[in-house]
Amino acid sequence: MTRSFTLRLSLALLTAFLSVPEALAQQSDDDAALKLAEPDFTLIALPTALRLPKFGSAFRVTHRFRRALGSGDFGDLAADLFGIDSGAQIGLEYRFGIIPNGQIGIHRTSDRTTEFFAQYGVLRQGGWSPLEVIALGSIEGPDNFKDAKSPALGAIVSRRVGDVAAFYLEPIWVNNSNPLPKEVVDHNDTFMVGVGLRLRIRPTVYLVGEVSPRVSGYKQGVTHGAFAIEKRAGGHQFQLNFSNSFGTTLGQITRGPDGNNWYMGFNISRKFF
């Protein structure tokens, strides 16, 4: 994904984010109630500001097929059923609401990366506040959390627009983002600003997009980007997505993909509340 495209998309989303009329803001503070503009805890890889009710939980499967959509000609791609015949990086995630406005969770991907995360709702959209603000922290480590750890701290700033859309800005700092030891690198952490949008185009159908430009620090590869279409069905969310990386943890997102290949994948999530 080129830097100019990322910049233009980020500016467009930021403009939309700030220009939404206050009157359209949702004001429900019942965390168990369905928020039509924000039905899930993640966009594609980035987290959302959705709160989990106390003792509620949610499960998610992420799946990123490893065949690049641009590899070979269309016949090859079709013969491989657009990558479905290839291997995949799979992630399993479970989150739990431990207190009102607070949730913790674990996300493990099939490259043996394990991420623990926590989110806490600091500010709720509605009333005097035009924005939802969530504090988030995580720590992840490869090789089943036995190898070098990458902690992250950040915030999710979101704005829901009625039942139609939700915008996200996510400034996040990831330490030890560089896979090499700090003794041999110039930058060993990264500050990124995730930008995302979920748009409800039909009563239960959504378009989703996200990019994660790295503002400073380690910037290997290109900027993570993804888009998706998804269907809500009861407590389930089914998402078909296209992304330029396999990353689903904050560290993986920050490291960025090596090339500008695109891959097909899907997310399936289920709420238990």
Binding site: G141, K149, P151, L153, N176, P179, E183, V184
Partner: protein
């Protein structure tokens, strides 16, 4: 609130804990190799490592022989023989250019790049230096090749 504050505090603390990848995993057969001259001298120039890669001073020494290519890498003189010193074999090439590992001829010889004069070093390889060992050596050069 207190629980989550505790979790976030814990995560904050973890971010300052030494959880980086260990340099020794990169250094491979010379696990104590660091991006300093003294370490490069002792671990690369003067030591045959556990993988069988030969020490440079097996040939680049003035002890009992003339140093190969006129390059003496023994302890007392090695730094002054390589940093900002032209190659004796390749005109225009500088053995170590402080801050510029990619254009340092020592790196070209160790990586066996096209355009080098003579064989890839160390002579008699493989084994040669591993990618990790070369990366640490290049880091020392990138940091200005200090006499540390």
């Amino acid at each position: 609130m207190r629980i989550v504050a505790s979790i976030l505090t814990l995560l904050s603390c973890l971010s300052f804990v030494g959880c980086d990848q260990k340099l020794s995993t990169l250094a491979g057969p010379t696990p104590s190799l660091e991006p300093t001259f003294s370490s490069v001298q002792s671990q690369i120039f003067e030591t045959t490592d556990t993988a069988g890669r030969q020490a440079c001073i097996n040939c680049h020494t003035n002890v009992g022989r003339n140093p190969s290519a006129g390059l003496n890498l023994t302890h007392a003189v090695a730094y002054d023989q390589i940093v900002n010193v032209p190659s004796s074999r390749k005109p225009g090439a500088i053995r170590v250019i402080p801050g510029d590992p990619e254009n340092s001829y020592l790196v070209h010889k160790l990586e066996g790049r096209a355009g080098i004069v003579g064989a890839r070093m160390p002579s008699g390889g493989p084994p040669y230096l591993t990618d990790g060992q070369i990366l640490i050596l290049k880091r020392w050069i990138a940091l200005g090749a200090p006499r540390n």
